[in-house]
Assembly symmetry: D3
Homo-oligomer: 188 residues x 6
């Protein structure tokens, strides 16, 4: 389980806390694997815990955005940044949650080619803008998203998911993180 999954030599700590062992076991049971990103953080429990807490809140917690919407944002960001790990893992999540393999492919390849309703398209256009040119985001941009019915809390969540994957894309790519091979065939 602690096989090295990045190009950095950072072995897992010898004594994992009980709560961490249970968490990894839970992953194994529910997902059939421990995602490599989790293994990559096992060298330091403070970093592991901080990552898991933020990930769980953003992607699995309460939000006006559905889990599928959050995963679509994740893949659009990861596609712009060309992050191998995150496109593989979250592309699978989009296929799984939507039941639409082509939708997962489109998020990876070019979200503009997907047959999206206007609200979803506006959400992803805003996510792409925040990814590529956050310093230029203006009140007009935020109002543009509000006009499609997104609340200020929804807008925060879009931005937060973009931010999170702007972070993990860089961590995964710059450490040379390899995704679990299991993802490739999932939900095709």
């Amino acid at each position: 389980m602690t096989r090295q999954v990045t190009r950095l030599d950072l072995p897992a700590t010898s004594e994992l806390p009980e709560r961490t062992k249970r968490y990894l076991q839970l992953c194994e049971e529910k997902l059939g694997m421990v995602p490599n990103v989790l293994q990559a953080y096992l060298f330091d429990m403070a970093k592991f815990d901080a990552f898991v807490a933020m990930y769980s809140d953003l992607m699995l917690g309460e939000s006006g955005l559905s889990k599928l919407e959050r995963e679509m944002i994740a893949v659009v960001v990861s596609s712009i940044n060309r992050c191998w790990y995150c496109q593989v893992a979250h592309g699978a999540a989009v296929r799984e949650l939507s039941g639409d393999p082509a939708l997962g492919e489109a998020m990876v390849m070019n979200y503009r080619a997907a047959p999206l309703d206007q609200r979803t398209r506006a959400m992803l256009d805003f996510a792409a803008l925040v990814t590529e040119a956050s310093a230029k985001v203006s009140d007009a941009d935020r109002d543009g998203v509000r006009a499609h019915g997104f609340t200020d809390r929804d807008i925060f969540d879009i931005i937060a998911v973009v931010g999170f994957f702007s972070m993990t894309n860089r961590v995964a790519s710059a450490t040379g993180m390899e995704p679990n091979p299991d993802y490739h065939a999932q939900a095709r």
Copy 2:
């Protein structure tokens, strides 16, 4: 204390937990203010806690990188992304920690113009590469940093700080977060 500090209407929760009140009070005592980024997260305790945990670990926790080195990386990333909030707040931190106001200015304006030793320059060049083109980072790039004496754990920490500010830059800029005015005159 809960005055709105972003362009999103997300008021603080009415009942802050005791631990949060103490944390904010501690900020007030040690920094003379509560940084606006903290106030911006007070609308949701899970997000506040996750942000503080990750920030504290990365910027204040144990690391082979000094706090000044981490703050220099923070400002270089924030300068590339032109994040108003983070350049202001962390530019002040570089001035404070280094005792060298011009160094803080150089990190904001063009780190390549600063009179840095080769090791620090290599660290910041790598940080800039991860910020701008993480998908192109290769073993050769990682070896280049190793050649200046950085361990794999140090390299992880450089990447993690770059990642964290790639996230917070987008959250701050896209929400229109305003820095506390106190920073501008600090450590000049």
Copy 3:
């Protein structure tokens, strides 16, 4: 068979030549479908014939490059240009020809993350350079590829495949061409 597959209203000519009917029938037999790109050209036989002739020569004809190598180049170019049609169709071809689904994914997502031998990597780096900055290609770049054992004819073929997909990517994307849904599940 002549259902509109682009966002331009260009119906197939009413009387297809016999040789064209046979060609389409052959596609149906060998591929189980008529690729939409062929249907898109059915409005004008001169264009259809010119496209098929060039495609067949470049991708199926004699070359020092294997068919898989040519398809890998095709996907790398199409990924840089984010062409929905060509990433879908030729990503499937890479999976099929290589028997390695993850390789097809990597060509789409970030070819730099794939575990390629140095010769193949040099070929794809050169293809990416020609795609992104052909005006800067120099003798040194050509010599760099020659050093990996590519002949001048091989180099021509790399360039020609890059050129061809630089063309078809633009035709497909700018006409709004939709790929056959059959590709998505192939060779997973």
Copy 4:
């Protein structure tokens, strides 16, 4: 006639077919030269024939676009890609067909500076968009061109010419193709 015109060592086949000899002789008679791009393809008849067929159809065949319009598009694309060969050869064609040397210069240097009617400007803006960002072309962009009276077939032809020069620019630049010196003084 078969002097090497690129930086690749690909000599002409020893036995040119009769039809090819006649075609080259025709060029000599009508243009006073054999364009080097044709000589560059003489090493392989299948490639020569495919290139000539596509070129002839697109640039000389039936179209709602005039030959001058097609050549203007060719130069705008080649200018964006900074292709030495195609700017020289097709810049001359614009000067020749328009009888306006300054127009040829403007297509090379900055088409936005030329005193064009709105329809032509819209055509060239669309061509520039397809050249630079085909993955972002939308129904709104196509409707924008339609609003200037271009039919769907015209739009296809604009896109096809852009595509063709996106291809030949890369083939010419990446092989180091040198234009015939005769072009420089033509139609000044």
Copy 5:
């Protein structure tokens, strides 16, 4: 006074003209220093005089733009070009002339984050456009600035200041010019 201030070895001429000595003395009296950019030009009186004449006319002479407006433009251009010298020196000028240290910081870090009136914002957006994409400036852009009450002479002056700093940014950065340390603490 003639200490080398760039990375080029170009010592001051041994015999400065009287008018130059007086000019430098005047700087010393009024500014408390001789700005390094002046020292950098002392190796050649023709260049020194030409620079001073143009600078004085543009930044100190008659104009519909206030000196503060001209300095704001100077810093926005210098920030886009990341010129260390000019951001330091003219950032100080903005702080000084406006009496608002945060305004100087915002011009350096991201002028879009500053609380500007619409007219000033339009002026700086136009300046940024001329800095980044002058070849695309159109009548519509000029009319956009006119709509905020700028005269054609004002527009010329905006463009001229952008042009001047597009020049001096390159001269300062490419020669490795170091700003006088005195600027950093000014008007904080």
Copy 6:
């Protein structure tokens, strides 16, 4: 002579100084025309004089760079910035001074395609770097040019010419300046 040559309404001053009249007459005699850029500055004598002084020093004064070398740099910068006026006027100067029409074309279209000696190529590569990324110019870049025999004064002159055209390109393009038609046919 005072016909408007830009898109700004800035008529020439009614009473031109005698020295200016003589200068314009001299242009007429030597060049057969008054370059439009001079006419564009006739609305304000201080600006006219400053422009002429700087231009004359840089392009016509003493320098280790030949006039042809300076004009080649001028065109390379103007080509990168796609300045219509300067490519036309200085492209003609390169043709004239070199007696090689194709050289003028290559400077406009893609200087990398010209058959230049290594020293000249290094000079133009450095000029392109200063044009596009002056903030990244390092000691290594300056040493690279020195290695081809350029003195520090030569390097200053390369940078100064790049700077000057970085300025005039923006002034010409952003004011919509139109070149004299006479240039197009010169020295073909």
